[in-house]
């Protein structure tokens, strides 16, 4: 095991001070950059979708993972972003500007929700966001001149500085760049006062308040940042969906986002990304599973959602800290080998206490 000597406070502030971690992240990015060399067009389009989900998950992570506000309606922001993106593109706004505007529109709506929700807590907030998402869906369906209603709209292609970005590796790199930018930004936020305030609000409102954290403002900020990022993800996702209709951004999609970050590991940036990997590629894994299953079962209708549910349930039962938690254990095992002690992560019995206090 390496020991890192900290010689300045900067060590606690900077990203990636541990050389091992630096190498790992470097390798990961290098690997991501090299992917188009080895992947087919289909796989790259899957990757682009994955990047959209990772970004959306990152957005939800800011809200739910950091500031503890569970949202059942985040797909609404995805949808707002997507529709806004298409609307701006149709009116000739350049791609990047449209993307920022799409984020802003989602963000402002998010802030409004945050404002309204600043007095709500826990489950009430979650259900209120669900209602909000249903209303957004309804409005998108009804605002025919703006959105094409339920008939939907098709999405214009991406043009960047007058050059049409093709599917495959070009889209992939573009999306990767956007994701990396936001990962960096959110990591920054996390080490800065606002990020800390969000975490404080999550852990104890009374305590945070007594230290000068303005609860309402922190929640609104969290909602804004979260919705902004998710809105941008929606803007990107629009191009992968080719065709938008309001039902696309319904409850199922919201739950999927939530599921993603929980399975990935709440409260960590890596969690959002690992969760997206999980959710995007689980269907592929199920496909492979299908091949080895006896054909009577493999062609059973509804097998796919069933396995989807089962695998997620299994993960939560056996790995409640999410996939990121599993990875940490694995890393510790490697680092401390052969001195790894199982006991390190065995848990003592735990007991629930009421969550009806705030």
């Amino acid at each position: 095991m390496r020991t890192l000597f900290k010689t300045s406070y900067g060590f606690d502030i900077d990203h990636l001070v541990d050389p091992g971690e630096r190498i790992r992240v470097g390798l990961l990015i290098a690997g991501a950059l090299a992917l188009p060399l080895v992947l087919s067009g289909y796989a790259l389009s899957e990757m682009a979708m994955f990047l959209c989900y990772a970004l959306a998950g990152l957005g939800l992570m800011v809200l739910t993972g950091f500031s503890g506000q569970v949202s059942f309606g985040h797909a609404a922001f995805l949808g707002l972003g997507a529709y806004a993106q298409v609307w701006f593109l149709q009116r000739g706004v350049p791609f990047l500007v449209a993307l920022v505007l799409a984020g802003l529109i989602a963000g402002v709506m998010g802030a409004a929700v945050g404002r309204a929700a600043s007095k709500m807590h826990g489950f009430y907030l979650a259900i209120a966001t669900l209602a909000f998402a249903i209303l957004v869906e309804t409005v998108i369906g009804a605002a025919v001149p703006l959105t094409g209603g339920h008939m939907g709209v098709s999405v214009p292609p991406i043009t960047l500085f007058g050059y049409e970005v093709q599917g495959g590796w070009q889209t992939y790199y573009l999306y990767l760049a956007v994701l990396l930018f936001f990962v960096w930004g959110v990591a920054n936020l996390k080490r800065a006062p606002t990020g800390r305030a969000m975490v404080a609000v999550r852990d104890s409102e009374t305590s945070a308040q007594s230290l000068g954290v303005n609860i309402a403002r922190t929640k609104i900020t969290a909602f804004f940042a979260s919705a902004f990022i998710t809105g941008v993800a929606g803007g990107l996702m629009a191009h992968q969906l080719y065709y938008l209709s309001p039902e696309t951004f319904g409850l199922g999609e919201s739950l999927k986002l939530l599921l993603m970050i929980v399975v990935g590991g709440l409260g960590t940036i890596s969690g959002a990304i690992i969760g997206a990997v999980f959710v995007t590629f689980l269907p592929n894994a199920i496909e492979i599973l299908r091949m080895v299953l006896p054909s009577g079962i493999a062609h059973q209708v509804g097998l796919e959602p069933f396995l989807f549910g089962a695998i997620i349930a299994g993960f939560i039962i056996f790995e409640p800290d999410g996939l990121y938690g599993r990875w940490r254990k694995f890393r510790l095992f490697l680092e401390t080998y052969p001195y790894y002690k199982r006991a390190t992560f065995t848990r003592q019995k735990r007991y629930l206490k009421t969550g009806r206090f705030r």
Binding site: V155, Q240, E304
Partner: protein, 367 residues
Amino acid sequence: ADTRGVTGTSVIIGSHTDLSGPLASWGVPATNGARMRFDDQNAAGGVHGRKIDFKVEDTQYQVPLTVRATNRLVQRDNVFAIILGAGTAQSMASYEITDKLGIPNVFPLSAARSMAYPTHPLHVSYFVSYQDQAVGAIRYFHETAGIKSVCLQTQSSEYGEEVTEGVTQGVEAHGLTLAMVGTHRTTETEFAGVATAIRNANCDLIYLGTTGRDTIALYTTLRQLGVTVPIVGNMVSYLPVVAKAAGGAMEGLYVVSPVADADWTDGDAFRTDFITRYRAAFKEEPTVQSQVGWISADLLIKALEAAGPELTEDALMKAIEGISHYTDPFGGPDLSFSADKRFGGNSLTLLQVENSAWAVRQADLPF
């Protein structure tokens, strides 16, 4: 030839459909019917020596999953054509992908106008559009019963919007009034409020843009409120369960449909064989949706045959456009396609619930 998805010995046909979501009651039997047709053809040596490789992807009726399914079919499985894609928005998204690559995407499991209109060389639909279904129904009741006003209740979905368009069109064509329009979310189960509103609107005909469960709930509620005017649904409500539901309370409901369930009991050899084999293979009764699947597959096979051994996308589409007055062995209405007739159906069937079953009231209904 080096056409995508076509080799000397096989041709790959794909389908993205709903096997486990809200439209599974359409997707599953249709897929089964098509699979049966393809398997039979393969057993008989395929088309021009090519076996048909039928790849089905479940979309759970979700657009994102449909996009991924289409990508898989197109990029990984390298399909030659797609048939029986489920859902309107889903198929629209799928079109965006297949059109770019010039892949035929035909006979979707949706009668929306946008499925084949505006005319596109790679799209055809085997149904009569929801609009035309509504137009046909309204014309029929206007001509036979002299209705003056219509009430409309639809789901708030693209399907609902299509129906609304059709009803509006029909109403305008005959100078009627549209007395009331209501929409509801697809998951709704309780309709007392709107039913009262509909009753109080006093219209002569009630048209439903509903699917299955909501048709039953709305119909029974309306009748309980003492509404006696004709109530008409369209092809989506044309399900056995709708006729059977509520212990006989569905008596009198009309539907207009471009397809009609075969008469399974008349001893016809084909149908008797079909029903026994279907039961054996899929452990359930065939429905009109199974017929739709079978017929779509049959149409495709006819077209593949007509396209000749040098199979290209273009040849297939030309061959489909050449189909005229096709009749199916289930006894349904005939179909024709041409360069500008992209919806195959030539007429509709009007059915009504009688003794908890669908009875044909008028075949070959024009629209």
